[in-house]
């Protein structure tokens, strides 16, 4: 009886206050949907490889190439001989195994096709102790004909998953299925294939990994290792360079590093996925803040709605309800209401997830059928949120004195104004912070893709080619083409540097080969000297060079003008003698690589046509008939005797790809800011609606005493502005500190502008005033008689 009675009381009260209840539930559902989606996205990298037992002491040895002035290059593969060295020399290593990926022919009966498989060391499933469905994977690869597959692959290859003993031709050799392992959860594994053939097999790529010839070095295997419990990965890491030094040619010993990466941290590794960790953190934080806004709305509206039930509370107390029982009733109602909102949020998340995945290029899944624990977590989260959101209203209402309520003496009516205002202030502080962040991230992105380039990349197409003379000559004559020039590929990649000996110092300098016309093509003008004296067709022995402003500073010239005429020793590329070259012009710093790294001192040399390899042909289009011109360029490419397909790209697109991470941050902020603004509006409208009837009497008295509509409007709006103004004081320093820190991650960034802060405050104020002014006007306009009679 009691439960039924409480359900009736809950549902009738929701129905009686339809609009406000809908606002509270809808707002919470939106905030929850955002949090659920974010959690689902976060679950992928955070739960990466968690299906592997002992994933917290299992590592993948990855290759890192460092070269000065560039972001280190990460590869998941490692030298084939490293595994054995690690196993023999490091007592902390419990097990090691390698995988080599290969594209081989799988033939069963008449059907054969080429597929990607792994050749695996026999110990593989001793390192990765993946759960077995059939057979013993740890023994399965010990024989040269051993084969292990995942359940899905067994079904695909053999038609059933318990197909132990079935055979298949792998790269020409007959292999026997000896074990079947469970499918790894989708998107949470670094393994690209579910077929593992014994590395001892005849066609094994592992067996073929011969020692490198002297002076060369290759990485062809994935090396997994598991450390003993309690072993220090740092200590192991510290001993690796000495162990593998013998594998490396001497010039590489400084630059190459074999790094252990825990397999459950691969997805957030800064080297493989730059910015992923930061994005996840920002996304999580922002989703949490938006959920806070929604929850604050919910709490405020719950209190406002519950205040309308004072009589009910009084009657319940008179009927013998204790404080605790009233509190439990309201907590229970809060949990129920949050559950309704959660249900809506789950439905919304399911609908939105494919779009969110497409937009953010993530692979999050809402697979609660396969993983019912997800629902359990959701339920637990909803109950906790319900309790947290209901705690304050329940406390407030259960402490109302029954005697006062029941005898119609107003008392304790405006309880909790302080908490309510604090919640509104908190919401607006978050809103202001989000607006500041959104604008700053957006400005930085615009800066990176436009201003920071310091050159004009619109309508410039590049073709990867070592300046073939016929193609270049003919391309110049195409009607839609304005200019054509040649450079080395390093113009885009920046991946060519040398040491220049200068006044007793070895200075790391980017060496870029480019025809003089390249500068004009990209709209780069010298800040000192002249480009006119450069040999238009390049020169075999470099005698005249152009440097950038970074070089002027690094080489210690007082000014760009002072650098003109100086003679630098320029190392030759490849064979040939070093040359001494005179600086004839200084250009501004410009670069095509990410602004996260600073622009290096650069020397531009004009080389003859044949010397650009790998090379880049830059073509500036006139901007009209672009598709036709591109088609003409493609035809010309083949017509001038190039057999391989043309590799052409717009420079602007390449630059956009470079800043995709920045773009994602921007979009993330924009979406959540929009949500925050919407939710804050919703909350304010709800809150002012719920207090309107209480205010009506006060306004009636004020009007009876002679206040005009305008004066009352001002009063209402001023009372509303106060928490927003206070929110600025809270939001500004935090937003300033966070954005400062974020911008400092870039070598070049926009200044954090002061006007942004008051502007964001104004936006918040406008949002607040806009959402309640209609209502305020309506209340303020009412005739005093009506207002006074209202109660």
């Amino acid at each position: 009886m009691r439960a039924r009675h409480f359900l009736i009381a809950w549902s009738r009260n929701l129905a009686a206050n339809r609009l406000l209840s809908a606002i509270a539930i809808l707002g919470l559902a939106i905030g929850l949907a955002g949090a659920i989606l974010m959690a689902l996205i976060a679950r992928v990298p955070l739960g990466y490889n968690h299906h592997v037992p002992d994933h917290d002491r299992t590592y993948l040895a990855v290759s890192v190439m460092r070269s000065e002035g560039m972001a280190p290059d990460y590869q998941e593969a490692s030298p084939g001989a490293a595994a054995e060295l690690l196993r023999l020399n490091l007592p902390e290593v419990e097990a090691v195994a390698r995988l080599a990926e290969a594209e081989v022919e799988l033939r069963r009966g008449a059907r054969g096709r080429s597929e990607k498989i792994y050749w695996a060391d026999p110990a593989l499933f001793d390192v990765l102790r993946l759960p077995a469905l059939h057979g013993d994977p740890r023994q399965a690869l010990a024989r040269p004909d051993g084969l292990v597959t995942t359940r899905t692959e067994a079904l695909r290859l053999f038609g059933r998953d318990d197909a132990l003993g079935e055979t298949i031709q792998v790269a020409g050799a007959l292999m026997v299925l000896r074990a079947v392992i469970a499918d790894p959860p989708p998107n949470r594994t670094d393994l690209a294939s579910g077929i593992f053939a014994s590395g001892l097999g005849a066609g094994s790529a592992l067996a073929a990994l011969s020692p490198d010839a002297a002076g060369t070095f290759s990485i062809g295997a994935r090396t997994y290792l598991r450390l003993r419990p309690g072993a220090s990965p740092e200590a192991v890491q510290a001993r690796i360079p000495a162990l593998i030094a013998g594998l490396l040619p001497p010039p590489l010993r400084e630059a190459y590093r074999l790094e252990l990466v825990r397999i459950d941290r691969l997805a957030l590794n800064e080297g493989f996925h730059p910015g992923a960790g930061q994005r996840l953190f920002i996304g999580g934080l922002v989703a949490f803040l938006v959920l806070f806004i929604a929850a604050a709305n919910f709490v405020n509206l719950s209190v406002a709605l519950a205040a309308r039930r004072r009589r009910e509370i009084g009657v319940r107390k008179a009927s013998g309800a204790g404080r605790w029982q009233i509190a439990v009733q309201f907590l229970g109602e809060s949990v129920l209401t949050v559950l309704v909102a959660t249900l809506l949020a789950v439905a919304a998340s399911e609908l939105l997830l494919p779009h969110v995945n497409a937009f953010l290029e993530t692979q999050a899944l809402f697979d609660y059928v396969d993983d019912p624990s997800l629902l359990l977590w959701l339920l637990l989260g909803a109950v906790l949120l319900g309790l947290a959101a209901g705690a304050w209203p329940a406390f407030l209402l259960s402490s109302l004195p029954p005697a006062a309520i029941l005898q119609d003496r107003s008392g304790a009516g405006s309880g909790g104004a302080l908490v309510r205002n604090a919640l509104v202030t908190g919401q607006f502080a978050i809103l202001i912070g989000l607006v500041i962040s959104t604008v700053t991230v957006h400005r930085q992105r615009a800066f990176a893709t436009d201003e920071a380039l310091r050159m004009d990349v619109d309508q410039v197409v590049t073709v990867a080619a070592p300046c073939p003379p016929a193609f270049v000559e003919e391309a110049r004559k195409l009607p839609g083409v304005r200019a054509v020039s040649c450079s080395g590929a390093e113009l885009l990649t920046g991946e060519m540097f040398a040491f220049v000996d200068w006044r007793g110092e070895r200075i790391s300098t980017d060496l870029i080969a480019a025809l003089p016309s390249t500068f004009a093509l990209y709209g780069v003008r010298p800040v000192a000297g002249s480009l006119a004296t450069l040999p238009a067709g390049g020169e075999e022995i470099v005698s005249r060079i152009v440097v950038n402003e970074a070089a002027v500073r690094r080489f210690g010239f007082g000014s760009p003008a002072a650098a003109i005429g100086a003679v630098l020793p320029i190392p030759a590329d490849g064979a040939g003698p070093d040359s001494r070259a005179t600086i004839v012009a200084v250009v501004p710093d410009f670069a095509f690589h990410s602004i996260e790294t600073a622009i290096e001192p650069s020397v531009y040399r004009a080389r003859p046509h044949g010397a650009y390899s790998p090379g880049l042909v830059s073509i500036r289009l006139a901007g009209r008939d672009v598709p036709e011109t591109l088609a003409a360029i493609d035809r010309l490419w083949h017509a001038t005797g190039n057999a391989e397909p043309i590799e052409r790209a717009f420079v602007s697109e390449q630059i956009e790809r470079l800043y995709r991470s920045l773009e994602r941050n921007g979009q993330l902020f924009a979406i959540f800011s929009g949500l925050a603004i919407f939710l804050a509006c919703l909350g304010l409208v709800g809150l002012s609606l719920s207090t309107a009837d209480r205010r009506t009497k006060e306004i009636g008295i004020r009007k009876a005493l002679g206040a005009s509509t305008g004066q009352i409007l001002m009063l209402l709006l001023w009372q509303l502005s106060r928490p927003v103004l206070l929110a600025n004081i809270l939001a500004w320093p935090i937003a300033w500190w966070l954005m400062r820190k974020w911008l400092d991650g870039f070598a070049y960034h926009v200044p954090l502008q002061v006007w942004l802060f008051p502007a964001a405050g104004l936006v918040a104020l406008a949002v607040a005033l806009g959402s309640v002014s209609v209502l305020a006007f309506h209340i303020a306009r009412q005739k005093p008689v009506f207002a006074l009679r209202y109660e």
């Binding site: 009886m1 009381a9 009738r12 039930r309 009657v315 319940r316 009927s319 204790g322 004195p401 005898q407």
Partner: protein, 221 residues
């Protein structure tokens, strides 16, 4: 049943002190029907709040069935076990229908559960059974007060406190309410009723008068 000794109550609002009750002593026997009279502000409602354990005495003692409540939880326990209320403004919950409003009073009772059909029984008793599924707003004042009486009766309390139960009713409805209370008293329930109406007070076994928080007169009938 009720023993009050030297009961007092002060209210403080800011710097202003109001003496609502000052040194009241009173005994009410089980099954007695007492009417409390007096002008506005004489302390009638304060007395009723203390009798109903909605408020704590400032000084003196109040015992119900020999028990004194010193803590909030003890007051809740005694209120839950023994007391029913009837208010001038009915205090029915708008969102619940008649039967549910009456049922509300059974939710928090401890001890033996009310027999099945108890709600229907009291609705018959007060003549409101034909309105069981209606919401309070759709009832007349007299009907609403009958619902409130049914709510007070349903849990068979030892003590019913009525605060001007006829104050918002016309004379015909007022008379009907008084009949219901008289019947309850005859069935053995102790009733303390605050009223302004000498006519309705006359239905009680005993009348006491309050003025400025003091007991000034007592009439046994």
């Amino acid at each position: 049943m009720i023993e009050i000794r030297d009961l007092s109550r002060l209210y403080r609002t800011g710097d202003v002190e109001t003496r609502a009750l000052a040194g009241i002593s009173l005994d009410v026997a089980a099954g007695e029907f007492v009417a409390v009279m007096g002008p506005s502000g004489c302390g009638k409602s304060s007395l009723l709040n203390i009798l109903g354990f909605l408020d704590a005495p400032g000084g003196g003692t109040y015992r119900l069935l020999g028990e004194e409540a010193r803590t909030e939880s003890a007051r809740t326990r005694l209120r839950r076990a023994h007391v029913g209320f009837i208010f001038q403004s009915f205090n029915l919950v708008d969102e619940l229908n008649v039967a549910e409003n009456i049922e509300l009073s059974l939710l928090y009772r401890t001890g033996a559960p009310a027999p099945r059909g108890r709600v229907e029984q009291v609705m018959e008793q007060v003549g409101i059974a034909h309105r069981a599924r209606h919401r309070p707003q759709s009832l007349s004042g007299g009907q609403q007060q009958r619902v409130a009486i049914a709510r007070a009766l349903v849990s068979s309390p030892r003590l019913i406190l009525a605060d001007e139960p006829t104050g918002n009713l016309d004379s015909a409805n007022g008379a009907a309410v008084m009949e219901l209370l008289r019947a309850a008293a005859d069935a053995g329930t102790t009733i303390v009723m605050v009223t302004h109406s000498p006519l309705h007070a006359a239905a009680a076994d005993r009348r006491i008068a309050l003025l400025d928080g003091r007991l000034v007169g007592e009439t046994m009938l």
